[in-house]
């Protein structure tokens, strides 16, 4: 059995000649609000004294004919936001059943079984009291109408005991869900609770059997009775028996200032209807599980629940007289609300579109800047390439051949593309001005990719096995790290321009200069001493062939 409260509540107010002059006070207030504050009709319909439904966001009233009788129907679309929904509609409470034990420990669920219950009902209550809620159970919905201090509500199915109504209090408002039953008992709702304890017991039984629902505060206020004790409990029963007076029943009913709450659950493991008689409180609501709250509310969305309220002929006249003139206003008000809502939604949509477009413009701008930069680089490369002759430059070819013939580079290997090549050097030496000695750095392989513009690469590796721990471990050269990437220092501008311009020939010359020029003033270059000294013979040869400083100009 899955019983779910609706989001759309439909209140139908019936009236007839037989209603008589007596009006429930709450209905009188309701009518008074409608007539006195017509412009605030929705507030009146959901006034706190009525059902505390101020949270209703969209309400409308319609005159309808239901089962041959005129009815004022109020529709209330409750907010869909979970927080406001549960905050404002205080009648509705969510019971997360994923907290077994907590519910069972709640004193409001009295394990003592009211008198007059069947064995099955006792078992159900015991089950409830024991807190046997499955850990993976879905939540339940707790319906409690404690904001109805001045009236009682009964939900009566066709099979109810008609005698029950003869014992209702005069200000009791009857709620019918069955139209035929509503017609049958109309006019008989203004009744008193009697002094017959069995009648009340019968009422309790009907509630438990889903044949009746009593809503409102219910607890004993008299000192003669156990304070806060549940009606029908063993203690109350024993007390009454102890007092031995039939007046006790009357006394009890006089002190009867409460209601029976019914809990609805959408889970099979929870009693579909349970009874709470006694001091009223609320179960704590676990707000942490928002997802479950939202899921539940979504599941209920769009369902309709109908409540019938009977009012008198006089109320009919009042409402009809006032309502007729207000229909146009209501329609306009409803339309106005819709238009405002529509405009607000349209604004939000436009704001979202602007935000999205703004993000996209920013992204495109960044892409444009990047593309322009690439275009500029490509145009520069194109200009250089256009200046190059289509035929092989004999001087360029001879220059490369001369480098190899003289053993300055020992190999030259074209790469997979015209922008890639590698070459190997002869053994290179570098001079340490501190010691005035030459160090043997070894031969190197230099691999160049000039096709990446600013992202072109040059990787250098020592092919003489002379990697040394310098500024960091396994350096190929005092200025070349283990991964082959050089720290080019002042070489960077020249190197970058040559790579971009694809001037491979000059790049070889300048790379040789870089490899043979160790900057001992640099924290990395000072580790030149980690490389072996050149032999004495080579020291002499290098000193004789080239003055260490003679390479440079006079500046």
């Amino acid at each position: 059995m899955r019983l779910t409260p609706p989001l759309l509540t439909r209140h139908v107010f019936h009236w007839s000649e037989e209603d008589g002059p007596a009006l429930p006070s709450a209905v009188r207030r309701f009518i008074r609000h409608i007539t006195a504050n017509g412009s605030e009709l929705s507030e009146a319909v959901f006034h706190p004294d009525w059902f505390d439904m101020r949270a209703a966001q969209d309400t409308r009233l319609e005159l309808e004919e239901i089962n041959g009788a005129e009815a004022l129907v109020a529709y209330a679309q409750r907010p869909t936001n979970a927080t406001s929904y549960l905050t404002h509609l205080r009648q509705l409470r969510y019971i997360p059943t994923s907290i077994p034990g907590r519910i069972g420990a709640n004193e409001r669920y009295d394990s003592r079984v009211p008198m007059g219950l069947t064995d099955e009902e006792r078992e159900q209550l015991a089950h409830l009291a024991a807190g046997r809620f499955s850990a993976d159970a879905e939540g339940g919905i707790f319906y409690a109408w404690d904001r109805a201090p001045s009236y009682q509500v009964l939900q009566v199915p066709p099979a109810h005991d008609p005698e029950l109504f003869s014992n209702l209090r005069s200000d009791t408002l009857v709620l019918f869900t069955d139209p035929a039953e509503s017609q049958r008992v109309s006019g008989r709702h203004s009744v008193q609770f009697g002094d017959d304890g069995t009648r009340v017991t019968e009422l309790v039984r009907n509630v438990l059997a889903n044949r009746a629902l009593v809503i409102g505060p219910l607890h004993f206020t008299d000192e003669a009775l156990p304070a806060g004790e549940a009606y029908g409990s063993a203690q109350v029963d024993a007390r009454w028996f102890e007092l031995g007076s039939s007046d006790m029943h009357r006394h009890a009913y006089d002190a009867f200032n409460g209601s029976i709450l019914r809990m609805r659950s959408d889970h099979d493991h929870v009693l579909p209807y349970s009874l709470q008689v006694g001091t009223i409180g609320y179960l704590p609501v676990d707000w942490r599980d928002e997802q479950r709250l939202n899921d539940t509310i979504r599941a209920y969305h769009g369902r309709q629940h109908e409540e019938h309220h009977h009012t008198s002929r006089k109320a009919t006249e009042w409402v009809q007289a006032r309502f007729a003139s207000m229909r146009g206003e209501l329609r306009l008000r409803s339309l106005s609300r819709w238009l405002v809502s529509r405009r607000r939604n349209a604004l939000q949509t436009i704001e979202r579109q602007i935000s999205t477009a703004s993000d996209m413009v920013g992204r495109r701008q960044r892409e444009l800047v990047s593309a322009l930069r690439d275009l500029e680089t490509a145009q520069q490369q194109l200009q250089i390439a256009q200046l190059l002759p289509d035929e092989v430059d004999p001087g360029e070819l001879q220059g490369l051949d001369r480098l190899m013939e003289r053993g300055i580079i020992t190999s030259f290997t074209p790469g997979d593309s015209s922008d890639q090549f590698s070459f190997t050097t002869r053994e290179l030496y570098a001079y340490d001005p501190r010691s005035q000695l030459w160090h043997r750095l070894g031969a190197f392989q230099v691999t160049v990719n000039m096709g990446g513009g600013h992202n072109s690469t040059m990787v250098i590796s020592n092919i003489s096995g002379l990697q040394r721990n310098g500024h960091s471990s396994s350096m190929h050269h005092p200025h070349v790290f283990r991964n082959g990437l050089p720290c080019v220092g002042s070489f960077v501008d020249v190197q970058t321009d040559l790579l971009i311009n694809r001037d491979w020939r000059t790049l070889i010359d300048v790379t040789l200069a870089f490899l043979e020029s160790v900057n001992v003033d640099d924290v990395a270059g000072q580790y030149i001493t980690a490389w072996p000294l050149a032999s004495d013979e080579m020291q002499d040869q290098l000193n004789n062939t080239h003055s260490p400083t003679g390479t440079f100009g006079d500046g």
């Binding site: 480098l403 003289r406 311009n501 300048v510 200069a513 900057n519 640099d522 003679g550 440079f552 100009g553």
Partner: protein, 80 residues
């Protein structure tokens, strides 16, 4: 007179001088001219520059040969 001109022409050599990274000039020198002569003929200055010929360290008074390529680049100092 014409023999002298012929002799002069026969002794002329062509050398490429590059001011790295991208300025390239071809100059005509006489046999026996030096690296410094080539740089001067190209209109460059060796002040503060590292000078190499075909990748090799040279002295400014070293002789250049036909077809060689003189490279001037600012002093290269690697750094961390």
């Amino acid at each position: 007179m014409s023999n002298e001109l012929d002799t002069t022409a026969q002794n002329a050599i062509s050398v490429t001088v590059v001011q790295a990274p991208s300025t390239v000039k071809s100059v005509t020198l006489q046999e026996g001219d030096t690296v410094a002569d080539a740089i001067r003929a190209a209109g460059f200055s060796s002040d503060g520059q590292e000078v190499r010929v075909d990748g090799e360290r040279v002295n400014l008074d070293d002789q250049v040969d036909a077809g060689e390529r003189v490279i001037l680049t600012k002093r290269i100092k690697g750094s961390r």
